[in-house]
Symmetry: C2
Subunit: 525 residues, 2 copies
Amino acid sequence: MTLEGTQLIGRETVLATGEAFHAIDPSTGETLQPAFPTGGQAEVERASELARAAFDSYRETGLEARARFLETIADKIEGIGDELIERAMAESGLPRARLESERGRTCGQLRLFAKVVRDGEWLDVRIDPALPERQPMPRVDLRQRHVALGPVAVFGASNFPLAFSVAGGDTASALAAGCPVVVKGHPAHPGTSELVGRAVQAAVAECQLPEGVFSLLQGAGNEIGQALVTNPSIKAVGFTGSRAGGTALARLAQNRPEPIPVYAEMSSINPVFLLPEALEARGEALAEGFVGSLNMGAGQFCTNPGLMIGIQGEALDAFLATAAKAVEASGTQTMLTPGIRDAYDRGVAALASSDKAREVARGQSSDAPNQCQTGLFVTKAKDFLADETLQAEVFGATSLVVSCADQDEVKRVAEHLEGQLTATLQMDDADVDFARDLLPTLERRAGRVMVNGWPTGVEVCHAMVHGGPYPATSDSRTTSVGSAAIHRFLRPVCYQNLPQALLPEALRDGNPHGVSRLVDGQREH
Amino acid sequence: MTLEGTQLIGRETVLATGEAFHAIDPSTGETLQPAFPTGGQAEVERASELARAAFDSYRETGLEARARFLETIADKIEGIGDELIERAMAESGLPRARLESERGRTCGQLRLFAKVVRDGEWLDVRIDPALPERQPMPRVDLRQRHVALGPVAVFGASNFPLAFSVAGGDTASALAAGCPVVVKGHPAHPGTSELVGRAVQAAVAECQLPEGVFSLLQGAGNEIGQALVTNPSIKAVGFTGSRAGGTALARLAQNRPEPIPVYAEMSSINPVFLLPEALEARGEALAEGFVGSLNMGAGQFCTNPGLMIGIQGEALDAFLATAAKAVEASGTQTMLTPGIRDAYDRGVAALASSDKAREVARGQSSDAPNQCQTGLFVTKAKDFLADETLQAEVFGATSLVVSCADQDEVKRVAEHLEGQLTATLQMDDADVDFARDLLPTLERRAGRVMVNGWPTGVEVCHAMVHGGPYPATSDSRTTSVGSAAIHRFLRPVCYQNLPQALLPEALRDGNPHGVSRLVDGQREH
């Protein structure tokens, strides 16, 4: 397939007229063809209007038809073949194995949402039948289902050019819910975006859906994003990216004449608590596991372990010594973009120049373009508690170890943390009382609490929560990974005394779709 | 019980030092004793801190203990006896039968939430067991439940001094979810609030719960409310009231260092569509039913039918003539407060002075204090479409009839409407095609769609949606009436590889609470 550098608006391909940008191969600094002229207000309006026009029809596609559409997208993405992997490698600097696995995850989650759609639990059907004889007042017939919110704007993320991008989790869950999607592609991987966008476009056509179900807008700068979030046809936003970006979008959405929900997954330093017995018994193994997790994907995961917390003493010193060796042995890795590399260097420099943090070790360096040099710093708990800037996420392979005087100080550090995607306990059996004591705080602070694992690696399944209190996300009531993500794009509607012919099929007598229902408070399957 | 005019902060009663205010009997204008000194920042901080301190303990109360607490509140409210009804009558001008029925509703919904808590579906337990043999990567053990958001600020509403006030739907659903509650009582009924607040306080003590589970703050002015919404211990807000008030609170909450969700139920004119065959066949009965609904509670319901839409012609003229007679025969009724009466008079005056609306009829007038004089106005669809101010809610017994040229214009009016709590179709069998054509628009615009009923009357049950797109509420994804309201105050947490001893009981092997679970995507009961 020849890349054209076009916007995909409904069934059309449109060459925009804004300033052109190019992808850059971060491993070489080389500019990649073709040029992508930036879209603007006109393209946003056209895509949003098509999405609005498609909404009433698309949201009422049957469960089977919608599931087939999601599966067709997955098939079409796989059908692109190696061209997709090669372009994504060139645009992201990520290795082949990682991108092949990410493609599997992307298609797997589209197929998971197909299953979820077919199952129909997401409709949350509730029926309270009429009670005409009830005293003192009869009860009318009341039936509830969930309907799609409306067209959704999805912002592709840089760090997962497939799984959190054009046909990633936000798009999959919004389409599953019955929402048309307008994607703003991430400018770091426009070619990858175009390839995937064409696959979705082809799936829309093959499934004979209204063309406005999907559009892909591309551009450098903020104009497209701002225009999308303020467009009256857009009814919700999915975003994965920086805290500043997500917070700005949330403000913009809240200040619309009709405010809309923004699901922004933003910032997390993913604290890991090294409990005393575990640290004593297996500090070296923990140090090696930690640095392995830290270096994964050049540290460019939302769940990168950016904060380690332990109690000062010989065991923590030994942990630090082993971790320092592992860090020093760490080779450089290519970061996603020059901008991300610059931000990483600034974050590391801020730690290095802080009088409250001390450098423990740096990884190997390299003169190759856009390399991430691993970093490890240490601070005392009293300094960490006194300086909010030490909680700032450094996106990349650098972590800060907080040395606490005692268990009480560990608790104070936990209580002091901002909202997180994850919180981890490294513990042995004898640490269980301490762990139990920390757990309520961690539940309040994080979306996922884990024991004896590392936060990198987010399973796509039913029980996953990839979310958490602000600033981890803008809305802690949900998840952006896993099947529960569909609920972000739904709202309940109640139907009172509608004749059978007017009722949505899922609510009719006899349960024609065979979905789970709550009838008069009793669950029926 | 002697009213003391105190704040109820945890187990204490505190006489505040702010400027005192009194309730007023709106039917006589008489000032009611005692004085209520307004609480301030100190009381907000104390109540919020107690709520924060109570949270970790209260949110982990067992299902049975929490259900019993809700039932105990209901028992204690009933235990107040006639004193509660008499004080509420004096403070609201509402008749005895209405308040007795409202007390029944209030206690009924506390008991409904007790059932919901016991049932445990709200926990949304999901378990994806470990798959150690999976290739290429094993799966870890992942389990999800929902936990309470944190302390909730609830703003009592003026128009339901029991059912949407101190122990109303917001409080009941927040307590059911495991959230401590700090209520800001509505200054129109401080005595009613104190009586109910003491009942809740007694229930907290009897159930041996931490005192911070409930506090009641009272005061005139906005200081308490603003201090509550910006207090860092408060994690969500429930509000029923004006559009200006709800929007201001939502902005305040969004601009906190840690933004929090606001569930504000605000403004709705509840359009009723008079479809041609129904209007032709039974226009007189519709007119009488309409004016009955319009006058209910002096029009002071969120679901008052403020907008009637029909196609011009003889049938609509006949409907208007009958409605005009019914309006003219309507006696006055006492409104809740002098402020609400003044706002009503201003709203009616704006319609009367608009060159786009024409007065059809006014009800009887009276020199008694704070009386609502029923009003009926008519406008042409083209004027309605051109003037946003004609969509402004007039809180009270006044409605606007929109006369449309044809079916297309009815659709344009429907599409032009802001978000609504309800939308109603008055229809006969021969109207079904027209109704089907309107339905997608109404689903997008309203939380509840009904046929051949009137919007006043909101059943407390499982299928109810008392919600809708902005400005009906600040968050269309939920309801403030009915059992689904519990979901507003919950967020998911995922537990990865936790040993059984650390797992919350609801997630342990063997399902000790016997709740519904989604295990590896399969529903188990």
